[in-house]
Each structure stands twice: as structure tokens, then as C-alpha cells.
């Protein structure tokens, strides 16, 4: 047998650090400790994704989490996703208003175009709007012509800016899917931070052709969809995941400097009547501790940058 082509035993990037140049290798506990405003121990950063899944999804190059599943027309999944924007988000608003939490809403451009008042409802509460691509069927991937990808980003930002008053500084790709050029293009479009990479609990600098951009921690694990839908765990498991996660970060922050508790939510998942209280329980636990700073992504970014 002839074996594999020779390249399988060649390692052109076997070297110190990473096997690419987007960011440097860095060890979390060996970094300069971070100080948050008022010496908070944990910055609580919640992102709520406001998404539109078109019913004629092409799923190119793959179907994102939450995509249509039956043959066309999949009324069932289409309307349940839409439930998040009509109903679920309003339960979240009520909960967060009561707790004094301002979140970052990651909004598809199409959602801003279809429901501008939803964007305004976020901003009236002091929430931040960040860009979440055009819609859930416009993924960013290698093979998408660069001009098309650039246009998708421009369309997204134009839709958001028409509906929003505040600046758009952050980016979350639909399904966290990127092409090799996405980081370059979003930096070129003036965005300052990106939420796609899940390799850190804290911000870190990334390189792009248009200058540096900051990677903000936006875990795929501490997420309602991952825990409740993908892993089929219980509502109590979700509460425990949030409180256990927070407790460890809070303890760690006592000796290692400020930490970020980043929670990613989807109103069509967590906004169900039987689930919303599990989120409330966890948030009350978190907010009962001293030294918790509930902030938006942009506020956390600014505080982090000021200390670098």
C-alpha cells in the first residue's frame, strides 16, 4: 500500500505559538490582571440574539443551528423562531428591566428592517445593538466571493443603522461561521469587536488587514440553545450551569483580576413561559453577589482597553 500523500507528514506550522497569524498564543492566568470600574470582580455580559430564519432557507454551505428542518414550507420551525421576536424577547425585557440589566442585542439586519421598533425597544432600555449578519441564511464562509461578503456586511450595517440611534461596534457572525476574510472585512467596515471565536474567557487582540480588532468572549457553551436544545438538558441544569459558572469566575477574580461572565440567549428558547424563571433564578443569584458589573459589550470593551 502506498500510504498517504507526503504532505501528511509535513508540518509547515509546527512552531512556537499558533498555526496561523490571526492572534498570538497567550495564557489566561499569566496576563496582566484586568480591573473593572468600581473594582467589580465579574462583568456580566448578556447577549440576546434577534434572528430571522427565512422559510426558504438554502442552508449554504450548511444549515445553521435553529434552521428549518422539514420539507418546504416548514411553518413549524419558522414560526417558533419568530416567536422569539414577537413574544420571548418581551419577557426578557421585563425581566431585565426589573433586575437593572442592560444587554447587547445581536440583531440580524433583516430583523431591524422588518421590525425597526424592536431595535428601538432595545435602545430605549440602554441596550447595545451589535451586528449579527444579514439573516440566518446568509452565512459567511470560504468560497463566498469577497465582494458578496463585503456587500452582506454593508447591508447588515445599513439596516441596523436605519433603525438604531447608537453606534454599531460589535459583530457576531450567523452560526459563528467565518470565511478567511470575515475578520478583515468587518474591521474594514469599522467594527471594533468580534464575538465568533470561543477560545478565551477574556478579550484579546486579533490581527486583520484593516488593523486590529478585539475578540470578545462569547461562549457557545453558556448558551440556552446549547444546553436546552442541543444537549436536551433540563431547565434546572441550565440554572446550575449559569450559577456554577459564575461562582467559579467570581472566586477566580479575587486572585486573578476581573473576569467576564458572558451569557448568550435566544428569545425563542429561553423566552418560553416555562423557562424564563430558570434564567431569573440564576440572574438573581449572580446579582446577589457583591462586585458584579452588568454592562454591554461596548462598555466592557472600553474598560478592558483602558487598562491594556
Amino acid at each position: 500500500m502506498s500510504g498517504l500523500p507526503e504532505e501528511h507528514l509535513r508540518y509547515p506550522f509546527r512552531r512556537y505559538g499558533m498555526d496561523h497569524d490571526r492572534y498570538d498564543w497567550s495564557i489566561l492566568p499569566r496576563r496582566k490582571p484586568v480591573r473593572w470600574p468600581a473594582d467589580a470582580r465579574v462583568a456580566l455580559w448578556i447577549t440576546v440574539s434577534l434572528q430571522w430564519f427565512p422559510i426558504d432557507m438554502k442552508g449554504k454551505p450548511f444549515k445553521p443551528p435553529g434552521a428549518m428542518q422539514t420539507a418546504y414550507p416548514d411553518l413549524r420551525h419558522y414560526t417558533l423562531r419568530d416567536y422569539g421576536n414577537r413574544v420571548g424577547i418581551w419577557r426578557i425585557f421585563r425581566l431585565f428591566d426589573g433586575l437593572g440589566i442592560r444587554a447587547s442585542a445581536a440583531v440580524n439586519g433583516a430583523v431591524a428592517a422588518r421590525h425597526p421598533s424592536l431595535v428601538q425597544a432595545c435602545e430605549q432600555r440602554g441596550w447595545e445593538i451589535i451586528a449579527h449578519g444579514q439573516d440566518m441564511d446568509h452565512l459567511h464562509y470560504e468560497g463566498l466571493p469577497v465582494e458578496q461578503e463585503r456587500a452582506q456586511i454593508a447591508t447588515t450595517l445599513a439596516c441596523l443603522r436605519r433603525a438604531a440611534k447608537g453606534p454599531i461596534r460589535g459583530w457576531l457572525s450567523p452560526a459563528k461561521s467565518q470565511s478567511g476574510a470575515t475578520l478583515d472585512l468587518i474591521a474594514e467596515a469599522g467594527l471594533e469587536y468580534c464575538c465568533d471565536w470561543v477560545n478565551d474567557d477574556m478579550p484579546y487582540p486579533m490581527r486583520t488587514k484593516a488593523g486590529p480588532i478585539t475578540a470578545m468572549p462569547h461562549p457557545s457553551d453558556i448558551e440556552d440553545y446549547f444546553i436546552l436544545v442541543q444537549n436536551h438538558l433540563s431547565e434546572d441544569d441550565f440554572t446550575h450551569a449559569l450559577t456554577d459558572h459564575f461562582d467559579l469566575l467570581w472566586e477566580e477574580a479575587a486572585t486573578q483580576g476581573g473576569r467576564i461572565m458572558a451569557i448568550s440567549l435566544h428569545p425563542w428558547v429561553i423566552g418560553q413561559p416555562y423557562r424564563i424563571s430558570t434564567l431569573e433564578k440564576a440572574l438573581r443569584h449572580i446579582l446577589s453577589r457583591r462586585g458584579v458589573w452588568a454592562a454591554t459589550g461596548a462598555e466592557i470593551l472600553d474598560a478592558w482597553k483602558a487598562g491594556q
Binding site: S2, G3, H8, W25, I27, G180, N199, F246
Partner: protein
């Protein structure tokens, strides 16, 4: 002709016909923790039998999810193991020695063992020629010796990928134990062309990847699984020594929401007095020195399937 049975072991059921295993100091369970310290490449050459990533290149989500283990998760896992007084037996993608020597240094400082888990977790053995596979094993032996001074004794194939020759070559090149076979809760002889090779129980069931990514259990349930596994092996270990392994991945166990339940389970296990906190190498050496011949003698050939 492809195998119908890999033929690595004879028949020796888990009953009274099996020779009794004794561990040092009368321990009932030889307990070892095997952190998989891995490097996944963003854009490896594509093995014809398996793609490295589910999504098209660049699979930012899956790649960065694993990178979390080295930047963040490893360091938290290390603290937990220190607090519980447990040494690791590192299942090492040896290219980690070049990429992240700081991690290797911390493990070496604590007297942890290094065994090979291939070069990268994105380079698979499927389809390799004999010479290519030898080259991979040689690379592992040399890289581990160069960076840690240790002789390579153990093997867990990268991403559990194999050829029909893998275990023969591993034995021929002087390694003494493998973690690739899941047929037993005690060590057992492995039949290879040459050399002396034993299988040390590793466990997919206790593996955090299987628990979290395949069986999709929650962290507290994982802690309960570990405790129940231990309780039964500790009970059975009164009759004949058993082995319990917890294979870990820092990119999974190192998440804040998973650590506490793991630490509680580890504390529970290590609080028992008849537990031998061992490394893979120590278990293999003890078994080879004291029990291998008796196990071979008690084994009987497997009959021919029709």
C-alpha cells in the same frame, strides 16, 4: 482480507478463572487521570478517511473551542489536580512541545507522565504506509525524549485512528502499553508480532468528550457518573485489583461551569485509602512485572467464527 476480529487478545473472562491482581500497598483500585493535551490544526491536509472539521475551512467555532483548552482550560484543570494531589498521565499530541512548551513545562515540573497521542489531533493514521506510521511513532519517541527527558512507554492513537499495523509497530518500537482497547476493566496482554505490550484500561465511558459531546450529560451528572464508577470498582477491587481512568480534555473540563462538579468527584475518589494514585506507566510496569505471565497462562484461544 480485512479483519473480522483484530485478534489482539485471548479469552479471559472477568470471573473466578482470572488470576488475582494485587496493587502496591493493598490498594483496590489503581486510579489514573489522563488529560489529553492536544493541538488541532486550523487547516490540516485532508485525510481521505476523515475530515478534521465538520464545517468548511476555516471552522472557527470548532477550532477555537479546542484552543480554549490550552489558553484557559488547562490552567484551571491543573489547579484542581494539584489541590487533589493527582498526577496526570498526559496523552500528548507531541507537536504541543513546540507550540505551547509552557504547558509541557508545568506538567513535567509535577512529575507527570507523557505518553503519545500522535503528532496532532488533526493528523490521522488511517491510510498510512508502514514507513509513515513508523515515522509518526519515531517522531513521538524523539520529541518526548527531547522536551521532557522521558522514555515513551504509552500510546493512544491520534483521534483514535488506526491501521492494522498500529499496535504491532508501537510494540516493536519499544512502547509497553496502549490505551486503545476498551474490552476490559483490568490490564490485559496484547498479542503483537513482536515485543511486550499490555492494554491499560482508559475508558470511553468516563471520558469527558464522550460524556459531554456524545452523551450530552450535564456537569453534575458527570460528577455522579465518576463517583458511581469508582464505587463499584472500589467494591470489586477488594477481590482483585481494578483500574479506573478519567480521560480529560482541558477544552471541556476547564469550563468554569464544569469544574466544581469534577473537583468534588476527584476529591471523593482520592479521599478513599485503598486507592493507588498512579500513572499509566506505573500501572503497566506493575502489571507486567507481577501479573502478565499469569494472565497469559490463564487465557484461552478464541474459537473460530463460522
Amino acid at each position: 482480507m480485512p479483519w473480522r476480529d483484530p485478534g489482539y487478545y485471548d479469552w479471559l473472562p472477568y470471573n473466578e478463572t482470572r488470576p488475582r491482581i494485587t496493587w502496591p500497598n493493598g490498594a483496590r483500585v489503581a486510579f489514573w487521570v489522563a488529560p489529553n493535551i492536544e493541538f488541532y490544526e486550523l487547516d490540516p491536509p485532508r485525510n481521505p478517511a476523515r475530515a478534521a472539521w465538520a464545517r468548511p475551512h476555516p471552522d472557527v467555532l470548532a477550532y477555537s473551542y479546542r484552543d480554549y483548552g490550552n489558553r484557559v482550560g488547562f490552567w484551571r484543570m491543573l489547579e484542581v489536580m494539584d489541590r487533589c494531589g493527582v498526577r496526570g498521565s498526559v496523552s500528548l499530541n507531541v507537536a504541543m512541545c513546540e507550540h505551547h512548551p509552557e504547558i509541557i513545562e508545568e506538567c513535567a515540573k509535577r512529575g507527570w507522565e507523557f505518553y503519545s497521542h500522535g503528532t496532532y489531533n488533526t493528523r490521522y493514521l488511517f491510510g498510512m504506509s508502514e514507513e509513515q506510521e513508523r515515522e509518526v511513532i519515531r517522531d513521538s519517541i524523539e520529541t518526548i525524549r527531547k522536551h521532557t527527558g522521558q522514555k515513551l512507554d504509552g500510546w493512544l492513537a491520534p483521534a483514535l485512528t488506526y491501521t492494522e499495523r498500529t499496535l504491532d509497530l508501537v510494540a516493536e518500537m519499544g512502547l509497553t502499553y496502549v490505551c486503545d482497547l476498551f474490552h476490559d476493566d483490568q490490564p490485559s496482554p496484547v498479542k503483537t508480532r513482536t515485543g511486550t505490550l499490555v492494554s491499560i484500561p482508559y475508558s470511553l465511558e468516563m471520558n469527558d468528550t464522550i460524556a459531554y459531546n456524545v452523551n450530552q450529560v450535564g456537569p453534575r451528572a458527570y460528577g455522579e457518573i465518576l463517583r458511581r464508577q469508582f464505587d463499584r470498582l472500589y467494591e470489586e477491587g477488594a477481590e482483585s485489583g481494578t483500574v479506573m481512568c478519567i480521560p480529560l480534555h482541558p477544552y471541556l473540563i476547564g469550563w468554569p461551569y464544569r469544574l466544581k462538579a469534577f473537583e468534588e468527584a476527584l476529591r471523593y475518589i482520592t479521599s478513599h485509602d485503598k486507592v493507588w494514585l498512579a500513572t499509566g506507566r506505573e500501572i503497566a510496569q506493575h502489571f507486567i512485572a507481577h501479573h502478565l505471565e499469569a494472565f497469559k497462562a490463564a487465557s484461552v484461544p478464541v474459537g473460530e467464527a463460522p
